[in-house]
């Protein structure tokens, strides 16, 4: 089950876990999600391989935007309060600034910076509401 844990399955399963008070069946839900997504993933990979051979210039269609769209769709519901806005802003800015680093170090730095910014922003907010 650990192997099958992709971003999308996590999003689906986590929503179910949070919502549900009957935990006995939750892991079956996750397993189901995983099996379907993994199968679909492989089927789509095969289709992609075939389409890539047959259709010319499909690389220029920008289909990789689907990943961006999916990630944005998953991330936006998390951004509900001010500290998260800061975290996301700092993460985006750092990712841009450090994108040139090898081995995707920029991504790691941006993630840590974003989390740090969020924690700091939250701490500041608590101070303000604590006094006021």
């Amino acid at each position: 089950m650990a192997f099958g844990l992709t971003d999308e399955t996590f999003a689906v399963a986590a929503a179910r876990w949070l919502r549900n008070d009957c935990p006995a069946h939750n892991h079956w839900y996750q397993l189901g999600s995983m099996v379907f997504m993994y199968t679909n993933w492989n089927i789509c990979t095969i289709i992609g391989l075939a389409a890539g051979r047959i259709l010319e210039g499909i690389g220029g269609w920008g289909l990789d935007f689907a990943m961006v769209a999916a990630f944005i769709g998953m991330a936006v519901p998390y951004v509900k309060n001010r500290p998260t806005c800061w975290a996301v802003a700092v993460a985006g800015g750092s990712a841009l600034a450090f994108h040139g680093l090898p081995h995707k170090l920029g991504l790691m730095i941006a993630s840590l910076a974003g989390i740090g910014a969020g924690v700091i922003a939250e701490g500041l907010e608590r101070q303000v509401t604590g006094d006021g």
């Binding site: 192997f3 920008g62 944005i72 975290a87 941006a110 969020g118």
Partner: protein, 110 residues
Amino acid sequence: MQTFLMIAGMALVTFALRYLLLPLSGRIGFSARMQRALGFVPPVVLTAIVVPAVMLPDGRHVQLTVANPYLAGALITALIAKFSNNLLVTIVGGMAAFAAWQYVTNSFKC
């Protein structure tokens, strides 16, 4: 053969990391502060992946122009995501916006 070994290696690493860490996760108690910090991880990491992909579509040059379909598509997708509770609608709408933007900007070239 080398490709196969690479894939097998990646599968092994993925599995090993998760198989070894998951049992630990039940026993490690996180402090409240740590839990709050971890709560930031999903939006932060997703953003860190998306922003360079959108701003540097070809990997090298920052394209902060109106003509960048990735940028326009991303902004429209974020808007749709904010007002729609449905992930599928968001993705489809975002892709449609991206495709439309790409079509329009390509029509104006040369």
